[in-house]
């Protein structure tokens, strides 16, 4: 109860009156705000587009805002609102918005089942195939002016393609690539020069010098030359093509320009490729040399630890992707060391392993990331798509990616200084020997190979276990072959659903469906032969009856 100061007696209404007044004011303000907001939504004086994403990394939102402002300047009466939601919450938040019919006009595709699974994608997002074959009007002043929008992106818009639906449901806006980060300051302290390694031999020489430096300065327990955010596999990924692409001529049976795991298995059984081949041995031994420059038991090091080690100048080289670049650059700046970014150095001809190098792995077929879909119930879907056109025009893409320090995706868009080394290099080869045929073999390869690279087991042990697994009738190459056959057969069946939908809707409303899409689906289905080509391949290449070899494997239907 409050006190009436004039009378010195308790007041019956004084305190309550204040409360009531506050309540009324709050109610009135809320009512006004709610009414104004409702009116803005129901009868907007301007077109409002909402774009949601989970990219809260340093600089992304500012970059998006800059792109938005430029777009708004060019399109008066349009307002774009970006909604950054944390990665952890994005899933739940976007699901709720989609179900309640209030989702943003543009959603970054990923994380949530509703944004990744085909059945939800068709329900909530607009198919884009028919819209991306026209030129992007925002490229009118550059040489891409007559190029179909789809082809103006470095990945040919593959990042937005849904294989199961045979349809584009998103527009990618950025690229990702793996690189080697170098602490030049530490390099100079350790080796006397901050010259970056141009070859694999130079790199390993510098690593040895850093080991010596660590020993000299009493840091041998804490300092290592190389750390990796994603284990040694991400480093090996850059060397498999250089060392093994020469096998393509021998192993690429379907002449599609790649060596599929199934083709590697065929070649392995026929001894066209063995683990003892000089080029294969060169690959494994080169990776062992890298493994020797990483910390003991490096397979247990996670992304955060690797970054922390590098940021604290306890490693001179860090292997990670473009998405970490601005964070690492900031850490370098804070810690006061000079940072450089390079591609993985290849052995020179006159160095060990150099004789087995064909050339670098090209990055021409990298898929775009930062994919945005257009919400089906958007009141301004056309305008939302127009904004994506701007975002992926040369200028728009430059604004978005330069400011956010991500690699741009549009052909000719200039990257930021930091991102220049991350631009995909289209030069080089793409085929590689892939000995990890099937998930079960892959599991064994990963575990045993890392043991060898860490020095826990000799190569002969890896080879013994690999042969044991790959020739194991229940989990090896034959099982993986059956698995591929089964997946292929099911893929044909799944395509039948998409075709059935198209054909039924076309019957109901003639001319309403994209005939090109139907033809494409028919062709893709036909050229997978219901999987029977894999049975034939087994009979003729494996020289065995698949029904006999696979008799214990049961098809698993979804």
């Amino acid at each position: 109860m409050s006190i009436d100061t004039r009378e010195g007696k308790p007041s019956r209404f004084g305190g309550n009156l204040i409360g009531v007044v506050m309540l009324v004011v709050a109610f009135t303000v809320s009512l006004i705000v709610a009414t104004v907001n409702t009116l803005r939504i129901e009868r907007p004086s301007e077109t409002v587009i909402r774009i949601a994403h989970w990219q809260l990394e340093k600089g992304y939102r500012e970059a998006m805002q800059e792109a938005i402002e430029e777009y708004q300047r060019r399109n008066p009466g349009v307002k774009i609102e970006q909604m950054g939601v944390t990665e952890k919450l994005y899933n739940q938040w976007v699901n709720t918005q989609l179900i309640s019919g209030t989702a943003p006009d543009l959603c970054e595709m990923g994380h949530s089942n509703m944004l990744t699974k085909d059945e939800y994608t068709v329900k909530y997002f607009i198919p884009l195939s028919s819209l991306i074959t026209r030129p992007n009007p925002y490229n009118a002043d550059n040489e891409l002016k007559d190029t179909p929008w789809k082809e103006t992106l470095l990945d040919g818009m593959r990042g937005g393609f849904r294989e199961g639906l045979q349809e584009y449901y998103g527009i990618p806006t950025t690229l990702i690539s793996m690189r080697l980060f170098v602490n030049r300051t530490l390099l100079k302290e350790a080796t006397g020069s901050d010259a970056l390694p141009k070859t694999f031999g130079q790199w390993m020489e510098q690593c040895r010098a850093i080991r010596e430096y660590a020993k000299r300065t009493g840091q041998e327990r804490t300092m290592v030359p190389v750390v990796s955010c994603y284990g040694i596999q991400s480093i090996q990924g850059a060397y498999e093509v250089p060392f093994t692409s020469s096998y393509e001529r021998m192993l690429d049976l379907d002449l599609n320009g790649e060596v599929l795991p199934i083709e590697t298995y065929i070649g392995y059984r026929k001894k066209q490729v063995t683990l003892q081949d000089p080029s294969m041995q060169a690959l494994f031994q080169a990776m062992k040399t890298v493994g020797d420059q990483m910390q003991l038991g490096f397979s247990g090091m996670d992304r955060q630890t690797a970054q922390f080690t590098f940021a604290n100048q306890r490693a001179a080289f860090l292997s990670t992707g473009s998405w970490d670049a601005s964070g690492v650059a900031l850490q370098a700046e804070t810690a006061g060391f000079e940072l450089a970014v390079i591609q993985m150095p290849l052995p020179a001809m006159d160095e060990p392993f150099g004789a087995y190098i064909r050339g670098r792995q090209n990055e021409a077929s990298s898929n775009g990331a930062g994919v945005y879909g257009v919400y089906k119930n958007s009141r301004n879907a056309e305008r939302a798509l127009d904004f994506l056109m701007f975002l992926t025009s040369r200028e728009g893409n430059e604004i978005l990616n330069q400011r956010s320090e991500w690699p741009p995706l549009t052909i000719g868009a200039k990257p930021s200084k930091l991102m220049e080394p991350f631009q995909p290099d289209p030069r080089g080869y793409n085929a590689r020997v892939n000995i990890s045929f099937g998930p079960r073999v892959a599991q064994a390869v990963t575990a045993e190979m890392v043991n060898f690279y860490q020095g826990f087991a000799p190569f002969s042990e890896f080879e013994r276990i690999y042969n044991e697994v790959i020739f194991d009738p229940r989990r090896g190459g034959d099982w993986a072959w059956w698995n591929e056959y089964d997946l292929r057969r099911r893929d044909v069946r799944n395509k039948e659903r998409v075709l059935a939908q198209d054909l039924a809707l076309e019957l109901i409303n003639p001319g309403s469906r994209d005939a090109g899409r139907t033809r494409r689906a028919v062709l893709q289905q036909l050229t997978r032969y219901n999987g029977t080509d894999y049975l034939w391949l087994f009979r003729t290449q494996r020289e065995a009856d698949p029904y006999q070899v696979w008799k214990d494997f049961q098809p698993v239907f979804p």
Binding site: V182, V341, R427
Partner: protein, 323 residues
């Protein structure tokens, strides 16, 4: 009301009242049927087969057999049973029964033709674990479509499907069925110069000649026809371009460097993201042919073997002059 003013007796009044009441009762019903069909169609758009069964069943039951509404409802019901998950013997039987009803009773031949095709699809594909694939029965169904609708575009699709049931046999060592399938399609294309699926058919023929028949000359000729007609899966034809170039350069008794060069150039210009543009440039130089420009390579010297590119560095804050 006007109707009463115009009436000349009790019977007219009663009739008018009946008409008004009827129209009042009937209008919402019509609207509701339209809405129900719209909702049912939406389930197809969303590949929601369970809801399609739920919504189309009463619509089919309420419609007069052979009517427009019945055609749609029965056909879509069949389609929904055909694709609903999990699939079972019962769902597939329901699909077959409904397709058969469409074939027997539908007034629109388009629905009939498609239902006949779909019988073939059911026989051709394994729909549930114990399902038995019956290629002969499937081919029979497709051939019936060709026989009953010879002038309709669906006949071409049925012919292609019929041929594929033979090609899929992969019957080594003589490949009689594969050859029969290819011959059937070639004859079809000769007899139907305006076939809508001609490009798809030639690509399929080319693939069959390539593998399993290993007749590389005919494979390349078939692909050349596709190239003239236009590739169906635009943007993804890179692997076929590479195959054509390899066939022309390495696999023919008489190599065709001009044809090989044409496909290498196409890879660079049309499918630079296929991963083969750099090697195509090398191949063109090897063949002494001009290398076309690609914006993808604008910043890179395609003649240089890439090693470590010039690194870009960031200076620590203390050494930077721009901050």
């Amino acid at each position: 009301m006007q109707v009463f003013a115009l009436g000349d007796g009790g019977s007219v009044k009663k009739l008018s009242i009946c008409l008004i009441l009827l129209s009042i009762c009937h209008t919402p019903a019509l609207a509701s049927t339209d809405d129900a069909f719209a909702a049912a169609r939406q389930t197809l758009v969303e590949l929601d087969w369970k809801s399609a069964i739920r919504l189309y069943t009463p619509l089919r039951d309420a419609a007069k057999p052979g009517s427009k509404e019945w055609n749609e409802a029965t056909y879509c019901l069949a389609t929904a049973y055909h694709h609903v998950q999990p699939p079972s013997y019962d769902t597939i039987q329901s699909a077959l029964n409904n397709y058969q009803q469409v074939i027997d009773k539908a007034s629109d031949p388009r629905f009939v033709a498609r239902a006949m095709m779909n019988l073939g699809r059911v026989y051709e594909l394994r729909d549930y674990p114990e399902d038995i694939v019956d290629m002969d029965k499937a081919r029979e169904a497709y051939e019936q479509v060709v026989a009953r609708f010879p002038g309709d575009p669906i006949a071409g699709e049925a012919a292609l499907r019929a041929a594929s049931t033979l090609v899929m046999a992969f019957d080594e060592p003589n490949y009689e069925k594969v050859k029969a399938g290819v011959a059937f399609l070639e004859k079809w294309l000769a007899d139907h110069p305006n076939e809508e699926l001609a490009s798809v058919m030639w690509q399929y023929i080319g693939d069959a000649y390539f593998r399993p028949l290993q007749d590389y000359k005919n494979a390349l000729q078939a692909y050349e026809k596709v190239d003239k007609l236009g590739w169906t899966d635009q943007g993804n034809q890179g692997p076929w371009y590479w195959r054509c170039a390899q066939l022309a350069e390495r696999f023919l008794d008489q190599p065709e460097p001009e044809i090989a060069a044409k496909y290498y150039a196409k890879i660079i210009i049309e499918t630079p993201n296929s991963g083969k543009a750099y090697e195509s440039m090398q191949a063109l130089r090897r063949l002494n042919k001009p290398v076309p420009y690609s914006p993808l390579f604008a910043k890179f010297d395609p003649t240089a073997q890439p090693t470590t590119q010039e690194a870009v560095t960031t200076q620590p804050a203390t050494q930077r002059s721009d901050r």
